[in-house]
């Protein structure tokens, strides 16, 4: 467990020292959402109607863009091979890196989301559910994205390829994340959607580290 947290701490320290990386994901998130009122027009009703979807799509893209570097820097400077040699299962290493990724990008997105919901004129009933759905959904995004990030290692094609692989797999999270918020705004119970999001997370939690560890082993062969 100590080794696990030491990897998490290492990744957090790297992210914080380089400073901008995790901040950039949030900035991208904010700017992408802000583009919508400019593109669609500032009518409050339209914005309120699309708010949940826009915020979720932007969160999806922001977390995907930051995933590209999840293993790549370690792969390039060789530290990934040292992590593979650690007396810790590679699955746990992946889990540690995903945890650090979520703390540096997922968490800031969740903090920024209510602010953007205000800008998008979202109905007040949706706020808490939006945050709750993001708390359940963004870890799944980081986990699924880790598989994609491991698969593209060494291809030298980074972002575009990653989006092609990962975005189709993000769709279920998007659908239920948005429908939870929409249900809350229209006054329907949201328990089912949140439970499904939780189920995705519980399924991704064991499966994704396992798969991305397999992909990493292929990449390092």
């Amino acid at each position: 467990m100590n080794r696990f947290w030491s990897i998490v701490r290492r990744d957090l320290r790297l992210a914080l020292r380089q400073g901008m990386d995790s901040l950039m994901a949030v900035m991208f998130f904010v700017i992408a959402v802000v583009l919508f009122p400019l593109g669609v027009g500032p009518e409050p009703n339209i914005l309120a109607r699309i708010a949940a979807g826009v915020i979720w799509v932007a969160a999806l893209l922001a977390s995907m863009l930051s995933l590209e570097r999840l293993f790549e820097t370690d792969f390039e400077d060789g530290s990934l091979e040292l992590l593979l040699l650690m007396p810790l299962p590679l699955e746990a290493v992946v889990m540690a890196k995903v945890t650090a990724h979520w703390l540096t990008t997922g968490l800031p997105l969740i903090v920024a989301a209510p602010l953007l919901a205000v800008l998008m004129n979202m109905d007040g009933d949706g706020f808490s559910v939006l945050v709750l759905a993001l708390i359940l959904g963004t870890p799944s995004l980081s986990l699924v994205g880790a598989v994609g990030a491991a698969l593209i290692l060494g291809s030298g094609r980074g972002g575009m390829l990653l989006s092609l692989l990962v975005l189709p797999l993000f769709i279920p999270v998007l659908i239920f994340g948005v429908s939870a918020v929409d249900a809350a705004i229209s006054g329907f119970p949201v328990r089912a959607q949140l439970l499904i999001l939780g189920a995705f997370l519980l399924a991704a939690l064991p499966l994704c580290p396992w798969t991305s560890a397999a992909a990493l082993r292929q990449a390092l062969e």
Partner: protein, 242 residues
């Protein structure tokens, strides 16, 4: 048993013998199926003549799922037993499956315009078929993304297995979410709820599509094996001269 077919030379001989059969069966099934479907089968009392799109649309959609399942099985065999032909089979199936998926989506849109009054709706089955199409495209992009072809095949084999979760979702989408696309009427408990005059051409077309898939798959596999041979020969010549 599986290992026996891992030998490319044996596969080339075997496929040489099978190719004419597959081609002949495809043409025969398609000829009879199209005749029954386009000429003999009655027009639908509600849908009129456009019901005949079904004889292409439904087999194409079946094949889209069948090809992905075949890819997943081939990828698993390739990963577990390091079976070289299974790896190549997964790689060669992808473009065929993508083509079937596109055909299903395209013919669906052609049928949807007169019947539903719209080319496209965001219905559960349509959306999940579209996702399947993206999964095929992602696979094809990943398999070709690496300088080392072996690495591309291994990485994309893992991707196929991850994406396989979508297949049961597509199959059962019309039962889980009661949406615009009609539920299954052929493969269901209690037998098909479709008249034999329409069922026969449908099944024949499905057979024709399956043999067509096997035919093209054999051709593509032979092409892959020969391309590998050419690569090895070129490398050998370069090294021989150096």
């Amino acid at each position: 048993m599986i290992q026996k077919f891992a030998n490319p030379a044996r596969f080339i001989r075997l496929s040489q013998a099978l190719l004419p059969w597959m081609a002949g069966l495809t043409l025969a099934f398609a000829a009879v199926g199209l005749y029954l479907g386009l000429v003999v089968a009655p027009a639908d009392y509600q849908q009129g003549e456009s019901v005949r799109i079904m004889y292409i649309h439904v087999p194409a959609a079946w094949m889209a799922l069948f090809c992905y399942t075949a890819m997943a099985i081939a990828a698993a065999v390739g990963l577990i037993w390091k079976h070289p032909l299974a790896d190549l089979a997964a790689k060669s199936t992808a473009p065929i499956g993508a083509a079937f998926t596109f055909l299903a989506l395209f013919t669906g849109a052609m049928w949807g315009k007169p019947m539903w009054g719209t080319w496209w709706v965001w219905d559960a089955r349509l959306t999940s078929m579209l996702v399947l199409f993206f999964l095929y495209l992602g696979y094809i992009a990943l398999v070709n993304a690496f300088d080392n072809p072996a690495r591309g095949i291994k990485a994309s084999s893992i991707l196929v297995l991850v994406g396989f979760v979508n297949v049961p979702i597509i199959k059962f989408s019309v039962e889980w979410w009661n949406t615009l696309h009609q539920p299954a009427s052929v493969l269901k408990i209690g037998g098909p709820s479709i008249h034999p005059s329409m069922l026969w051409p449908l099944l024949l077309m499905a057979l024709a599509f399956t043999t067509y898939y096997l035919w093209v798959l054999l051709l593509r596999l032979r092409g892959e094996i020969i391309a590998n041979k050419i690569r090895v020969l070129r490398l050998r010549r370069v090294h021989g001269q150096a």
